[in-house]
Amino acid sequence: MFDISSIYQAQSVADAIRALEQDPGALVIAGGTDVLIKVREGKLAGCRLVSIHGLEELKGISQAPNGDIEIGPLSTFRDVTYDKIIRANVPVLGEAADMAGGPQLRAAGTIGGNVCNGITSADTASTLVALEAVLRVRGPRGEREVPISRWYHGVGKVDLAPYEVLTKIVLPRKGYEGFTGHYIKYAMRSAMDIATLGVSCLAQLSQDKRETRQVRLAFGVAGPVPMRAPGAEAAASNRPVEQALAAIGPAALGDVSPRSSWRASREFRLQLVEELSARALAEAMRKGGAQV
């Protein structure tokens, strides 16, 4: 039995917000694959929970008439990976989601939980950062949208005010259209392991596929929160593909600030940043038709 002092099963988002307002200090639980672990470890022992598990209005992935892709936060990793719209437009996000945990975990953990936990190693986070996703949140005073560049405030802290619930992850059309992408998760095991480093690269190519246009690069575990690498992006954008490949890794070193942990030293992470940036760019460009 879990050490929980109360759990309220919300019937709708409005109901969840109301329940959170009535019980300040209560925590949202979605798939529970972070929360229940923390309860078990004792970090959240005795917590009060508002469950949004199973709320239909927070599920599903659709494409708006303007081309924006809207992902319900309760979509599991598995839902994201196998979704037709994701596969057709942003396969890199589905591939990243497919690297979390193992199959049973991917059937339970949600993409909303993955961005609300504010954890730098979250496997979908770096790709969502590169895609310039927008987080739509709803609270007692209505709905607001937060660009992902302003979402992460610090380790485990995101731009969710009290009583707010994430209701959509929006991928604006201009964030993904014309790009091909690749995500690399570097970990000691190929399943059931947390990333030592995560790198997501999106690339746009010239018509003849010999030059880059816009390149976007984002990391997990290269700093306290998932982050973009603006220096590396500038160094790799609008260049002949070979030059972009040579430039991106060294430039990325100036963007990141990894630390040493029991998983890996800062030095090793820096080496991964340099090496994997180029590999992710090469693969992203290959998917876009470049000969590299």
Partner: protein, 166 residues
């Protein structure tokens, strides 16, 4: 914090009083006596507690019992034929000597049920990934993989034959 859970377990409708703080693994083991559902790590890493919820394999140790409201649950106890014989998937584990201490076996069998039920064929590498959410502390992975592969192939032979007959 009691609540009535109504769901279908191994083909039978079930109505049982549960505490809202219980995991689905707790409910299945303690309330319903389905002890094929093993508690290993209790943090979603070892896969010993794997059951199917509406056909999908999940770790029942990190799934609240109350979330199973109205759902269909399958455990190894639900695989036996009416006459008590093992299912072809269980039989494949016997044939391939894929069982050592046996603790991880029920969980892996449930993942295999989902894999075989998909009706698809898989490479060995794909099967490795599909059972990567399970730990076998006896490290008998080769035979386990052989068993899952055998179960998939046998199901496919059977489906193939049915297709020809039509």
């Amino acid at each position: 914090m009691m609540e009535i859970l109504r769901c279908t377990v191994n083909g039978r409708p079930v109505e049982v009083g549960i505490d809202q703080r219980e995991s689905l693994a707790d409910v299945l083991r303690e309330r319903l006596g389905l002890t094929s559902v093993k508690k290993g790590c209790e943090v979603g890493e070892c896969g010993a507690c794997t059951v199917l919820v509406d056909g999908t394999a999940i770790d029942s140790c990190i799934y609240l019992g109350v979330w199973a409201q109205g759902k269909t649950i399958l455990t190894v106890e639900g695989l036996q034929n009416e006459n008590g014989e093992l299912s072809p998937i269980q039989q494949a584990f016997v044939e391939e000597a894929a069982v050592q201490c046996g603790f991880c076996t029920p969980g892996i069998i449930m993942s295999a049920v989902e894999i075989v039920g998909s009706g698809k064929r898989y490479t060995r590498e794909e099967l490795r990934k599909l059972i990567s959410g399970h730990l076998c502390r006896c490290t008998g992975y080769q035979n386990i993989l052989n068993a899952v592969e055998r179960a998939v192939n046998e199901a496919h032979k059977f489906v193939g034959r049915e297709e020809q007959e039509q």
